[in-house]
């Protein structure tokens, strides 16, 4: 119980810290006037003065922070000044389903891909399939995702669009599942694959080394002494043991992507998700919009962290009896 309470306290502290950090980045950076930047380029003096008053920039930093949090979370009426006073919070929630679809598809691919490559590489450790897969894994995490996306577009939308391979690919953009379920799947398959390539590389490699480490465990020797076959050995014993570290990593990556980490993919494939929203904010310097998305994404990550912790306790019964298992491993990629 004390462990849960202290965990809760830490989580609240991190949440508070993030909000202060994001606030500081946007409104306390030495340099120019935040109200001028919120108003956007070429706004009139009256608009700037109105914003300065509305956001309380003529008040102290603490009061400003409190009013900003109120705009963002309590009254949820933080408005964009570039897009004619549109409600930023509503826009983020409107874009969220697109991102959720994309990231879910990508997660499907990357978990499947990592399982296959990690298992194969571990089974053939040291031989050519292992070397090939490890080389491909490194290649996968060396490719900038936005460039890969453009290459995929080049092939599937232009060069080979008329061949059997890519004839099914719809034009860039998003089709909601409510309109056409198959269209929804079709428009997301290639973006999700592009997004998942780097993660397949990372997760495959982690899984491979975890599997090999697990195979050295006494418990696996016991399984062999029981007369377990290779499939049972790898899948039910080694994978069950080594899946643990991947689970915690997966939760964080999934949450970060959900919170806008998939921005580059969404931009390249013209998917109107949270990342794309941020990108639009960038081009118009719409600070409230960007701040809202960054803030929400960070909160996603913290909440996912808590969920992963719970799942971890479920998967590894030893955790519950011990306390203080806060930071396991680290994320290995952006």
């Amino acid at each position: 119980m004390r462990g849960v309470l202290s965990r809760l306290g830490q989580t609240l502290f991190v949440l508070f810290g993030i909000s202060v950090l994001v606030f500081a980045v946007f409104f306390a950076t030495p340099g120019s006037d935040p109200s001028a930047r919120i108003a956007g380029r070429g706004a009139s003096e009256e608009t700037i003065a109105r914003i300065r008053h509305e956001y309380g920039f003529d008040r102290g930093l603490v009061a400003r922070y409190l009013s900003m949090m109120d705009h963002l979370f309590l009254s949820r009426d933080l408005t964009s000044y570039v897009n004619h006073g549109q409600n930023v919070v509503a826009e983020v929630f409107h874009a969220a389903p697109v991102t959720l679809s994309l990231v879910s598809w990508a997660a499907l691919f990357w978990v499947g891909g990592a399982l296959v490559t990690g298992m194969l590489a571990a089974c053939f450790a040291g031989r050519w399939p292992d070397r090939l897969l490890s080389g491909l894994g490194i290649l996968g995490l060396s490719v900038p995702v936005f460039w890969l996306g453009e290459m995929v577009n080049l092939l599937s939308q232009s060069r080979f669009h008329d061949t059997m391979l890519f004839r099914w690919v719809p034009a860039l953009g998003y089709i909601p599942p409510g309109i056409s379920l198959t269209g929804w799947a079709k428009c997301l398959i290639l973006p999700a694959l592009t997004l998942s390539i780097a993660f397949i590389g990372i997760y495959g490699r982690i899984l491979r080394s975890d599997l090999l480490a697990a195979m050295q465990e006494d418990a696996l020797r016991t399984a062999r002494a029981k007369g377990a076959g290779p499939v049972r050995l790898w899948v039910f014993h080694a994978l069950r043991l080594s899946g643990l570290s991947v689970v915690s990593l997966f939760g964080l990556d999934f949450a970060q992507l959900l919170g806008g980490g998939a921005l580059l993919t969404e931009v390249v494939f013209a998917l109107p998700g949270v990342g794309h929203l941020t990108y639009q904010g960038l081009s118009t310097l719409d600070l409230p919009l960007i701040m809202a998305t960054v803030m929400y994404s960070a909160f996603f990550v913290v909440i996912a962290n808590v969920l992963v912790d719970g799942l971890y306790r479920l998967l590894d019964p030893r955790i519950g009896s011990r306390s203080g298992t806060a930071a396991r491993g680290g994320r290995s990629h952006g």
Binding site: G17, T29, R37, I138, P144, F146, L282, G330
Partner: protein, 320 residues
């Protein structure tokens, strides 16, 4: 002088050889960029929409009329694949893609290398302070890094860039120009500090309880002396392994920021901004976007291979 364990374990692997050749070649080509530009007589930073170039013994316009039925718009000249001006063709401004690629490599490698160094310095500072002092200092620092880590890295870099890049910044006596590389370097270094600080902190903590540090403490060595004489030299392996991996991440982050026009500012170019320039020509002149992308892939691949080889040198395991 103690030869690093990591380096000793890595020397002589084919992947290390490949990585070193690629990296040295890229640095050389980046250094030689002005010679190429002068040698073939192009200015990689000035637009050249009305220019012309010798191709197959004929003078050809750099911007060619489109081959659509209405001949609307202009398409830049394609690659000749031969030594000389416009060997990789021109971009939408009529500039030489090959020359810009070399100059872009300069910016990309410079920013990635500098930010990786800065990141490691900051991370070593944080990690060592947390690891050496422990207690509440460790808790506070770890939590602060957790906070940084909870924000998606690219999103964090983007928000910092939006606020700072493109404006002149004044920090007291310091003045950072809008087009300075210092901002992207600082931003990219900052976002990867938590990533690098975590292993450094862990290593420091384990070193603090190791025999030789306890012995030094027993002899009455001051914390400063322990850090300088015992901890720092033992961290070299960790840093050496981290350096290429961090630099690879920094290069990818830089290219992403520049792709979003938040990294290096025009007229300067980096590989990321070159891909951005090539985006509009992707269907007609794909080489403009393909070439810088391949350069990024090659560099990051070499760095990752180097990092992995060094890592395997540190812990030679069966699981390699």
């Amino acid at each position: 002088m103690r030869v690093s364990l990591a380096w000793r374990g890595a020397i002589g692997r084919p992947s290390v050889l490949f990585a070193c050749i690629v990296l040295v070649g890229l640095c050389l080509s980046a250094c030689l960029a002005p010679f190429y530009a002068q040698g073939v007589g192009v200015d990689p930073f000035a637009s050249n929409l009305a220019g012309s170039v010798m191709r197959d013994g004929r003078v050809v316009d750099v911007m060619q009329p489109n081959d659509n039925p209405l001949h609307l718009g202009l398409t830049p000249i394609g690659p000749s694949w031969r030594w000389g001006a416009y060997s990789l063709g021109a971009d939408s401004q009529g500039r030489d893609v090959a020359a810009r690629l070399l100059y872009g490599g300069r910016s990309s490698l410079l920013i990635a290398g500098a930010s990786a160094c800065l990141c490691l310095v900051l991370a070593t500072g944080c990690g060592m302070v947390a690891g050496v002092f422990g207690g509440w200092i460790d808790t506070v620092l770890s939590r602060l890094l957790d906070i940084l880590w909870a924000v998606p890295v690219y999103l964090f870099a983007i928000s910092l860039s939006v606020v700072t890049v493109g404006h002149d910044l004044r920090f007291g006596p310091f003045h950072i120009g809008a087009d300075s590389f210092l901002l992207p370097i600082g931003i990219i270094a900052l976002i990867y500090v938590p990533y690098a600080a975590r292993p450094i902190r862990a290593r420091t903590r384990s070193l603090m309880t190791s025999g030789f540090v306890l012995a030094a403490q027993g002899l009455g060595a001051s914390p400063v002396r322990i850090v300088l004489k015992e901890i720092l030299p033992s961290l070299i392996d960790t840093l050496l392994v981290l350096a290429p991996l961090i630099m690879a991440l920094c290069l990818l982050a830089e290219s992403a920021l520049s792709f979003l026009s938040l990294g290096v500012q025009a007229p300067a170019a980096s590989w990321g901004s070159l891909i951005h320039d090539g985006e509009g020509l992707i269907y007609s002149r794909p080489v403009v976007a393909i070439a810088p992308g391949l350069a990024i892939v090659l560099t990051v691949l070499a760095l990752n291979m180097l990092g992995e080889a060094l890592q395997n040198g540190v812990r030679p395991m069966r699981t390699r």
